[in-house]
């Protein structure tokens, strides 16, 4: 039958009059969404994480392997000479104290039968078991967090934003939500059963953050926004010329509700709460900062980011005269090639770095996508050591081994990635009577003179096999890496030749050294304390983080004698040294227990004979019986000659400073538990 417009119209009229049911829409939802959408496009202060949202799949995977970033930091503590460099760049900070803020405390491998073996299961919402589809996100958690926000006078902010950031070794994306006219009440949903750091910001008020918030709890969080925050004023200059750098971006890393931020200024979110732009005269002011210790960062095109650490702010306090010196940016470039030498276009190359200032771990990254010829370039990096990862677009698994490189300010480092016929490869196997733990990795560290690339990491299969390709020739130390990078065990050495495949088997014995660490004051587990194992000759054997019950374990230990240094840096606890641990074939020593006492802190300033600060001087700390204590990977003075040293056990210490072959006279110190002492060490020519 042919169409009849009159019939059609009549039918439509009847249908709409009699069969149309309006779709129900909640007016409140509509109103709020409109406000949010309009604010998104019109309000420059609208709080959104555009860059981080776009990159969240990449960052989630980078988080998986960035636990291995700690390896560069940790391996530096264990080596001599040139290998003593750590991931921390000395010029960035007055060196951080020892220890780690790892909260997962993964320490014991699966299959050992330890009560804490379950901790090694990867967090499902960070490391998916199967590769997710392009563009999709992991399934959200099921728990909620509720609370109220208010000012000191009892009123509530009209609008405020709440971020929930998981407290984890691995970086995570914050959950953020804005609230308006809610009488200060907030509720965040879709969280997992973990602890979170909650950030709250209302326009014009200082940022507030609360740690250890547990979703799913019956208790509602009560968050008080103080009336006054702190202010930091200063200048940003070119480190080489002293010229001001107008237009640089200055942020407080401490008040950034994120665990990872881009290194480049242009990639920093425009809506970070604590952010300002340097004026034409080079000056800047960051106000309404939270009370506490801040790390301030400046970034500008053509420069690497630079940091000033340990800025302690009180309510209403002002810190003047902070000078941030920007060095020329470093770059990493190269080409990514496949196994047949073909160019790999449109893959992502990430350069990521972990720093450990006094205010807490921070991570930054640079990124590039390869061109049609497979080339990439990542710019505006600060001098220091980075992990390079390569991902296919939309994939959450690195395509190749992790590569660890060190770049200098103003230089461009050529780093070919992927396969290369001119380089060597290693096919290895861990031979162990015990099951290989899930997520075990092998890390290789080059020996000999310092090189731009000094270590790399590859996964280990369940049968103990692993393969690493594109390895420069040389002798490499091999470490087993467990607990997503929070535990490392020395396995041996291997020599790699160019253009050759090397095969090697590494024994991973069944014996282990294990124990627990507690607070001496009350016997509570010292979760997060760091245990470092040395052979009798002082050689580094392993390093791990104590878990939930303060427990640690070093598996795969060969027969011999060992000593343990237990460090309680982040816990403000002093160290303990346990000597004479004996391992025989088939016999592991009895579990040990370390009791850590409260410790003091000292700020050491290294100066020359004229009183001028010395940059890059190293510190040597010896305890009351003259033993060398390695409280941190590398204690060196920063740009102002300062070195904050934490976790000094009460007792007598002898401190030396050294640089360029010079060594200071010994300085004796007895730290107090409360407050921070100051010590001036003179290093003369």
């Amino acid at each position: 039958m042919s169409a009849d417009p009159r019939v059609l119209e009549e039918n439509i009229s009847r249908l709409l009059r009699r069969a149309y049911v309006p779709v129900p829409v909640r007016a409140e939802f509509r109103r709020k969404l409109e406000a949010e959408v309009v604010a998104l496009v019109t309000d420059p202060n609208f709080l959104r994480w555009r860059i981080l949202r776009r990159w969240s799949p990449v960052i989630a995977v980078a988080a998986l392997v960035m636990a291995a970033l700690g390896l560069g930091w940790w391996l530096g503590a264990s080596q001599q000479g040139d290998l003593g460099r750590s991931a921390l760049q000395h010029s960035d900070f007055a060196a951080a104290g020892g220890g780690t803020d790892a909260t997962n405390g993964l320490s014991s491998p699966v299959g050992v039968g330890s009560r804490e073996a379950r901790e090694l299961e990867p967090p499902r919402d960070v490391v998916p078991k199967t590769e997710p589809e392009r563009g999709s996100a992991p399934a959200p958690g099921k728990l909620a967090l509720e609370g109220t926000v208010g000012f000191e006078d009892g009123s509530a902010p009209k609008e405020f934003t709440v971020w929930a950031l998981r407290e984890d070794v691995l970086p995570s994306m914050p959950s953020a939500k804005q609230f308006a006219d809610s009488a200060g009440v907030f509720r965040l949903e879709g969280l997992s059963g973990s602890s979170y750091r909650i950030f709250v910001h209302a326009a014009g008020a200082p940022m507030v953050s609360v740690r250890g918030a547990a979703p799913g709890s019956d208790r509602s969080l009560k968050i008080l926004i103080p009336k006054l925050g702190g202010t930091v004023r200063g200048t940003v200059v070119d480190a080489a010329t002293g010229a001001t750098v107008a237009g640089a971006v200055v942020i407080s890393e401490t008040d950034a509700p994120a665990m990872m931020l881009p290194a480049r200024a242009m990639d920093l979110p425009a809506d970070l709460p604590a952010r300002c732009t340097v004026r034409a005269d080079g000056s800047f002011e960051l106000s309404a900062l939270s009370v506490g210790v801040h790390t301030i960062r400046a970034s500008a095109p053509g420069y690497g980011p630079a940091f000033v650490d340990s800025i302690d702010l009180t309510a209403g306090g002002v810190r003047e005269g902070v000078q941030i010196r920007l060095a020329r940016g470093a770059a990493v470039r190269g080409a990514v090639r496949g196994s047949a030498g073909e160019s790999l276009r449109n893959v992502q190359v990430i350069a990521s770095r972990t720093l450990e200032p006094a205010s807490g771990r921070l991570m930054l990254f640079g990124r590039a996508v390869t061109a049609d010829d497979g080339t990439y370039r990542i710019e505006d990096l600060s001098e220091g050591s980075y992990v390079l990862l390569v991902f296919e677009q939309g994939s959450m698994r690195p395509m190749f081994d992790l590569r660890y490189v060190t770049v200098k300010a103003g230089e461009t480092l050529e780093v070919p990635l992927g396969a290369s016929a001119a380089l060597g490869s290693l096919r290895g196997r861990l031979r162990s009577p015990r099951a290989i733990p899930q997520n075990a990795m092998v890390t290789l560290q080059i020996e000999g003179s310092a090189r731009a690339e000094s270590w790399r990491t590859c996964p280990v299969a369940a049968d103990g096999t692993f393969e690493s390709t594109g390895i420069p020739a040389g002798t490499w130390s091999v470490y087993g890496t467990l607990g997503l990078g929070t535990s490392i065990i020395a396995l041996g050495k291997v020599t790699i030749a160019s253009s050759a495949a090397t095969e090697a088997v590494f024994d991973a014995p069944a014996e282990s050294i294990r124990g627990t660490v507690v607070h001496a004051s009350n016997g509570a587990p010292a979760k997060g304390a760091v245990a470092v194992l040395y052979a009798d000759d002082g050689g580094f054997v392993g390093k791990t983080v104590c878990g939930e019950e303060g427990a640690f374990e070093f598996p795969w230990i060969s027969p011999g004698r060992y000593s343990l240094q237990i460090l309680g840096g982040e816990l403000a606890l002093g160290h303990e040294i346990l000597d004479g641990l004996s391992v025989s074939a088939g016999v592991s020593p009895a579990p040990v227990q370390a009791r850590l006492e409260p410790a003091g802190a000292v700020e050491i300033t290294v100066v020359d004979g004229d009183g001028k600060p010395i940059v890059g001087a190293s510190l040597e700390l010896r305890d009351g019986v003259g033993r060398l204590v390695r409280l941190a990977d590398d204690l060196r003075s920063g740009a102002d000659g300062r070195v904050p040293v934490r976790a000094l056990r009460v007792g007598e210490w002898t401190i030396f400073a050294a640089k360029d072959g010079r060594r200071s006279e010994p300085y004796r110190l007895v730290p107090a538990v409360t407050g921070v002492q100051a010590l001036r060490v003179v290093l003369t020519r």
Binding site: L16, V23, F29, L33, V37, V41, E133, G135, S136
Partner: protein, 206 residues
Amino acid sequence: MRVLDRPNPVQRPETDELRLRTLRGDREAAEQLFREHFDSLYDFVYFRVGRDLHLAEQIVQESMMTGFENLKTFEGRSSLHTWLCGIAKNKIRAYRRTRRPVPIEDILEDAGGEIDAILSQIEREPLPDSVLQRRETQELVGATLSSLPPEYRRVLIAKYLEERSVAEIASASGKSEKATESMLTRARVAFGKVFELLAKRRGELE
């Protein structure tokens, strides 16, 4: 005259001008652009997520935010409504992989690619009263409207639900009566074709 519980703006400035003003940070333009597209996007999503209110809000919120955040990338190769619906479709697909879909969503998903192709065809028989009273018909009406371009949806509702005259509709939209009449004709044809497609897919109408 039926009282609708939602606004149905007929008067609308040129969408692309609104988009450009929005990109320049014009708050009023942003509000108007939102209001122009919210209802149609919401309807589109609602029928494609099993009429799950909570899920519809989630998808609409994500789609709107994604759309407005990427407004500058809109190239004008389709209408803004189609573009926003495309964003919503992707989000719905991602969600639906985790659950078993209910029939109307299946039909809409399957029909999605063909709706546009049908808009130029006409075939209709008078519908029996009994059909009009069926819940399934109500679903089809809502689903059909949700699949139409916003301007078609607006004029059909203005004409047949709000019972406005062509002159009133033309005056409110700033168009001529002839242009409005032409728009109504096209809207009716489109409605007919989409409705027929969905009905055939479900196999319950003669």
